[in-house]
Amino acid sequence: MRHRSENCASDLKLDRWLAGELTSDEQQAIESHVEACDSCQQRHATLVESRRSFARDAPPFAAIGQSEPNTSAQQLDPRSRAEPVTSSRQEFARRPPLSERSAWLVTASALAAAAAIALAIGTPWTPSVPSARDTTSSGTRTKGGPASLGWVVRRGEHVFAGRPEQPLRAGDAVRFSVSAREPVYVAVLGLDPTGRLSVYYPDGEQLSKIEAGRDQLLPAAIEWDGATGAEQLYAVFCANAVALAPVRDAIQRSSDAPALPRGCSIEHATLNEAAP
């Protein structure tokens, strides 16, 4: 009954690719194979089409849990461990799109089915600054804060966890996420090669509160416009609600060692651009 050769990708591998679960090496390998294999191309196209029809026709997530399931958890996965749920459920925040800033085109509506952005499960964000610095009198730290920033990239039909070593391409949509051990106030800023600083999150005049949780997608999304040069990304995490202006000014004055308000920490990463 099997149709595909041993070298071809199984449906599981193709599904994982489309859902953004593969590493960058795995993605490159499967992309290369699918480009050269008619059978896998056809199968890939079928799976892409089924994802489109799901996005169009499937019941909304809000309908889940409205009635009791017909199958028990034990029947669904006999190896599952029914552990008690301790974390609180959080509503998915919806905010208006950001206005255009610097060389970036900010289009939250382009990622509308914000829903269509898959959350990469379990991929931490590794700061590109490897060494920690001592806490200064202003309370600034460059590493070891209460939260970390990640991002998810949507490239055509594919969604995958962003990594600093994975260059972006023109047209990539990038959405930020935060993992926090405790509630924290967050801002995400970007410094382009010309030295212009943009605030990607939040929209208002104060840092925005994020509850404890893992890989929580922020409503902020940007589209990489293919400008040359790397973009420096800064995530600021504060214990209290602080105004955005002093945070922005501190990074603008000295991005290497910004004098942030007391109780704030900063993480830094670089978004690189793929060579043409």
Binding site: M1, H3, R4, E6, C8, S10, D11, L12, K13, D15, R16, A19, G20, E21, R43, T46, L47, S50, R51, S53, F54, A55, A58, P59, F61, I64, G65, S67, E68, P69, N70, T71, S72, A73, Q75, L76, D77, P78, R79, S80, R81, A82, E83, V85, T86, S87, Q90, E91, F92, A113, A115, I117, A118, L119, I121, V159, R214, D215, Q216, L217
Partner: protein, 159 residues
């Protein structure tokens, strides 16, 4: 542990695979939608089920397979399997409807573990390594299970 925002994103990113496989296994849109609902309702009610030991997709493949197998076994007649598959679909089916009907019929006579192997091997066309990951066992054991499956298939065909 899967907080609700992550579960919603999981529904969008992984739900298509759950629904597609449920359709392939059951050949019935209504039941496939119920499996989709059941899988994610179960996760909503007990997020701790997914302990992160495998990829989310692998975990959902397993949940979907178990749910569909349970429904197949509860179906009363073989005739219903054939009738369900004769309804038209908009999406191209792959594997072909004939293969799926034959697979579904064979599943009813297989012990649970072999039925799962048959699904992952014939329908999802997984490698042995992937089979081992989904089943949570060694490749050697997967090899043994495939031998048992092939032996049964050959006996059924009279070869």
């Amino acid at each position: 542990m899967l907080p609700r925002p992550s579960l919603e994103a999981l529904y969008v990113s992984h739900g298509p695979a759950v629904l597609r496989r449920a359709r392939q296994l059951l050949g019935d849109e209504t039941e496939a939608q119920e499996v989709l609902h059941d899988v994610f309702t179960s996760l909503l009610q007990d997020p701790g089920q997914f302990a992160g030991m495998s990829s989310a997709m692998t975990f959902l493949y397993r949940m979907t397979t178990n749910a569909a197998l349970g429904r197949l076994r509860r179906r009363r007649t073989h005739a219903r399997l054939l009738a369900a598959d004769q309804r038209g679909r908009e999406e191209p089916t792959y594997p072909s409807p004939e293969v799926l009907v034959e697979l579904r019929a064979s599943l009813l006579s297989l012990p649970d573990e072999l039925a799962q192997v048959a699904i992952y091997y014939h329908m999802d066309e997984m490698t042995q390594e992937e089979l081992a990951q989904v089943l949570g066992c060694s490749r050697q054991w997967v090899g043994k299970l495939l031998q048992q499956l092939h032996a049964r298939e050959q006996r059924k065909q009279g070869t």
